[in-house]
Every structure is written in C-alpha cells, then in structure tokens.
Amino acid sequence: MIPLSYYVAVATTLFVIGLVGVLIRRNFIIVFMSIEVMLNAANINLVAFASYFDALDGQIAAIFVIAIAAGEAAIGLAIIIVVFRRKIATNVDQLNLLKW
C-alpha cells in the first residue's frame, strides 16, 4: 500500500508546475492549460483522500471540479476568441485594461 503522503507529494509538485506555468507563459491558451494542470493536481488530492479514508464525498467533489473546469474552459476560450478578433492583444502582458 502506497503511503498517502506520496500522492500528496505528486499533487503538490503538479500544482507548483501549473502555478509556474500561469506566471511565466505569455500565450493565453497555455495559461489556461496550466490552470487545467492545477485543477488535476487538486483532483488527485481529493480522490486520494477519499480513497484512503473510505468516503465517497471527495470523489463527488472531483466530479464537480471536472464540471467546473469544462465551464471555465468554454467561457475562457470564448473570451480569448473575442480578444483576438477585436485585436485587443496577442499575449497576456498586453491585456492591461483592468490593471490598477
């Protein structure tokens, strides 16, 4: 039986990778892909804890996370298409309309 800590370690590593990706990439779509990496890390954690503590709640939460990710991808990609069509920006750095 693999210790629960190993799953948590893998999930943390993936989460950090996704976070670095959000911070360093300039392409819109790859920033969104990094968010998917982070959501998957969270899903591994939820399912691992649910499986080790014999509760189904974590797996239900993981299903909800997948549904939220689908909605987020649809809305985000629609916004990206609008930004590209109006020629507002071509990468993340140039989007500063809402910048304080």
Binding site: V16, I24, R25, M33
Partner: protein, 176 residues
Amino acid sequence: MTTFFFFYLSLVSIISGILTIALRNPVHCGLALLTLLLHVAGFFILLNSEFLAMVQIIVYAGAILVLYLFVLMLLNLKTEERVFHQRTAMISFVTASIGGIFLMVLLRSPFASLSGNATQEAIGFVGHTKAIGITIFNDFLLQFEIIAVFLLGAIIGAIVLAKTPLTQQNDSSDKT
C-alpha cells in the same frame, strides 16, 4: 505491482506537466497536457475509482482538450520568439521554493482522520458507478442542481461572447 505503476504514473505525469508549460509550440503543449490527463486517469484507477477515471478520459481528454485544440487551430497562433515572461528564472525559483516548503510540511503530516463507511467491500458490492450515483442524488442533490445551472450559464455565456456582433457582420457583407 501497484508501487511500480504509481512511480511510473507520477514520473510521466510530472514530466508531461513540465513539458506542458515549457514547450514552445502550443499544439505540442496541448499534446503534453493530453498525456498528463491520461496519466491522472491512471492515478484514479490506482485509487479504486474507475468511474472517475472514465469521466476524466471522456470529459477532460475527450471534450475539454479537443476544445482547446480547436481554438488553437482557429486562432492560428504563431510561435513567438519570446514565449516566456521576462523574469522567468526569478518567478520559477520563488514559486518552486514556496512549493518545496509546502512539500516538506505535507510530507511530515500524519494525515489521520476518521474513516467513512464507503469501504472497498461496500463499494464493490454495488459497483462504483452505482455508489457514486446514490451518493450524488441523495447527499449532494443541491450541489448537483447548482452545477447544472452553472453549465447552462456557461453555455449561454460562451455563445453570447463568441457570437459575431451584428454590426461587424454587416460590414463584412458590404465589402464582399
């Protein structure tokens, strides 16, 4: 056997995660993300939740990733000469050190908790899909309905956002 699969899955998912954020061509990044999603599904099978693994493959790898690749194809993004942020090294170092601290703390925690009643035997008796269904429609019915309304809102929002504006349509028809 389980140990071997665990280490294989974690190695490949971490490598493909790094490739997702490091490759220059966006399509290659999408394919690395596909590898990551399939291996996360492998983790779910390792954790005895096969319904979730199938949902992961069908919804994530089948639908969401295809949506990403469609948008990539539609926008025809060029590979720029400067893909990364200016202060990439500094940002990666700071984030990795914060992640290392988290990892150290998490690896030391005992993670003890009360166990629920959904043991392997109890789930195996009815089947994983049925157990998930019974839980979702008994204990999580309100959340399920909220997700349904959320997805409806996401569909409507995506259509409204990505629709070609009426004025722009007229302009393009005048030119042709």
